[in-house]
């Protein structure tokens, strides 16, 4: 982000577009030979289709998948909806049970609630204390009529990491399709669907890993191939699963971002994890404070911290224009709605209000972390300096 602007610590909401990806996209946007509809059979259409094919291979390679197992969508939200609604609606009549958790993204919980309005029964798993879902909890929830298990690998609010390999093994043994919401993990942690072949479906998107907004992928395993009912009609694009003209420059950008992310997987997670712990240390002068979710196992780039006695909206305004962070609560209206995820971890509404999610990414530097921590500590102290006596202990 702009060096002159706020320090950007909201990479889990979206990553700024990688400069190399922007270059690849601009070249494609301006290239006369890339303009046709990739579905058109003529020479210009075939040139565009070749760009799509190459990018499809790069996207697939990030997760160890063959190119033909990737369905392009408009983002993780669509991938997740297609995976969940599509699998459930295509499943045999006697399979009417779905396993999900209470800490999933709203795209997942929303799709599962939609299934509840249809004929499905959903088992809502609670996370362990650290925020991850225990494979044992999944095992206990599986039933002969389970049509789908859907779990996130990394929680977008706490960074909690679920042992997807173990869940995949379980699902493979029980022949239950597993859908993984990898929006927060793809490109940030190694994933290999060839190894974890219990994963039947996996959703991710470009903009969380340095690619463009508005493009996502759904991985669909080949063998055995989970049946999917499309969300929309309109043509035979994407193996009949997802109609609509393919967005060549978006796909090219997604491919470039996946290639870059893959190359950086050997070093970036450790670098970012170290920065996160540096941030946590640098925030200590704002004690009393706490961490929402365990330190490990976790995604490298997410730190969710709460500051006793602090009101969330005021903390955000105190940081406004200086540090871009996410609140523990969604302020859709005047009264902020405490995060369901943090509630599932047993946090009080006041503690949730007093929490911030800091998320770091490939562009984050030590200097940014240090400056941001200093600004947060100062803001917390200023707000505490006017607290009524007893409020520090009572609120959060």
């Amino acid at each position: 982000m702009n060096r002159a602007g706020p320090i950007y610590l909201d990479w889990a909401a979206t990553a700024p577009l990688d400069r190399r990806v922007a270059d690849a996209m601009c070249a494609c946007l301006a290239d006369p030979a890339a303009q046709a509809n990739p579905s058109s059979g003529h020479a210009s259409g075939r040139a565009a289709a070749a760009l799509v094919a190459r990018a499809r291979g790069e996207v697939a390679a990030l997760i160890g998948a063959p190119a033909e197992s990737i369905v392009f969508t408009s983002g993780a939200t669509e991938s997740v909806n297609l995976a969940i609604l599509g699998t459930a609606r295509a499943s045999p009549r006697e399979h009417r049970h779905v396993v999900c958790s209470r800490v999933e993204h709203r795209a997942v919980t929303g799709a599962c609630r939609q299934l509840e309005r249809e004929v499905f029964e959903v088992s809502w798993l609670s996370p362990a204390a650290g925020g991850a879902i225990e494979p044992a909890a999944v095992a206990a929830a599986l039933r002969p009529d389970t049509a789908l298990v859907t779990l996130m690998q990394v929680n977008n609010e706490t960074g909690a990491l679920t042992d997807i390999a173990a869940v995949a093994k379980l699902c493979r043994e029980r022949s239950v399709p597993l859908h993984v919401d990898a929006a927060q993990s793809a490109g940030k942690l190694p994933i290999d669907v060839a190894v974890d072949d219990g994963i039947a479906l996996l959703s991710f998107c470009a903009h969380k890993l340095g690619g463009p907004k508005g493009i996502g992928a759904l991985y669909q395993r080949r063998q055995p191939r989970p049946a999917l009912q499309p969300l929309m009609s309109g043509g035979s694009h994407e193996a009949g699963l997802r109609p609509g003209t393919l967005a060549t420059p978006q796909i090219v950008g997604f491919g470039a971002a996946c290639r870059i992310a893959r190359e950086s997987l050997a070093t970036e997670p450790a670098r970012i994890r170290a920065l996160r712990e540096r941030l946590w240390q640098a925030l200590q002068p704002a004690a009393p404070l706490w961490r929402n979710g365990v330190a490990e196992p976790s995604a490298p780039g997410i730190l969710n911290a709460g500051f006793a006695g602090v009101e969330g909206e005021s903390l955000l305004l105190a940081l406004d224009g200086e540090v871009d962070v996410a609140s523990g609560a969604a302020c859709h209206s005047a009264v902020a709605e405490p995060s369901d995820v943090l509630r599932a971890l047993g946090r009080s509404d006041l503690a949730i209000q007093a929490s911030l999610r800091f998320s770091l990414g490939s562009g984050t530097t030590e200097a940014e972390v240090d400056r941001a921590a200093g600004l947060v500590v100062a803001a917390v102290r200023r707000l505490r300096s006017v607290l009524p006596a007893g409020a520090l202990e009572r609120v959060a």
Binding site: E311, S314, D320, C331, L350, P388, R394, V395
Partner: protein
């Protein structure tokens, strides 16, 4: 983790940035009184403190936990009451307070807490006269 953009009037931003009158009363002559109101579930906790001297609120300070509108309203009221004759002071109207700092309707519940704290302060101030 996302939400509506933060929208604050320039007046709220200004008061929030400076928090005039926030914290402890400056030492001085007179009797110290206070008034407090809290509604944690509504998201506000406000305490006014004042020194009453010569029939006036010689000084007035606030402490608060709450959203920017709550803090701004408390700061504004503390300023407005300062140096005023206790006999002339009336609890603010929530709507006028909201109008003064341009708070949205959804924040009226919190501003009520501010006014409740002010009422308590004024009652205490009248009692020591």
């Amino acid at each position: 983790m996302s939400g509506e953009p933060l929208r604050y009037s320039p007046r709220v931003r200004e008061l929030f940035a400076a928090l005039p009158g926030g914290g402890a009363l400056a030492p001085g002559e007179g009797v110290t009184v206070n008034g407090e109101a809290a509604a944690l579930e509504r998201g506000a906790w406000v305490r006014f403190e004042a020194r009453v001297s010569g029939g006036r609120l010689a000084d007035c300070a606030f402490r608060a936990w709450g959203c920017p509108h709550t803090l701004a309203a408390a700061a504004w009221l503390a300023q407005a009451m300062r140096a005023a004759p206790v006999a002339d002071l009336r609890p603010a109207e929530v709507r006028e307070l909201a109008h003064e700092i341009e708070a949205p309707a959804a924040k009226l519940g919190r501003l009520l807490v501010v006014v409740d704290a002010q009422s308590a302060l004024l009652a205490a101030a009248r009692a020591v006269q």
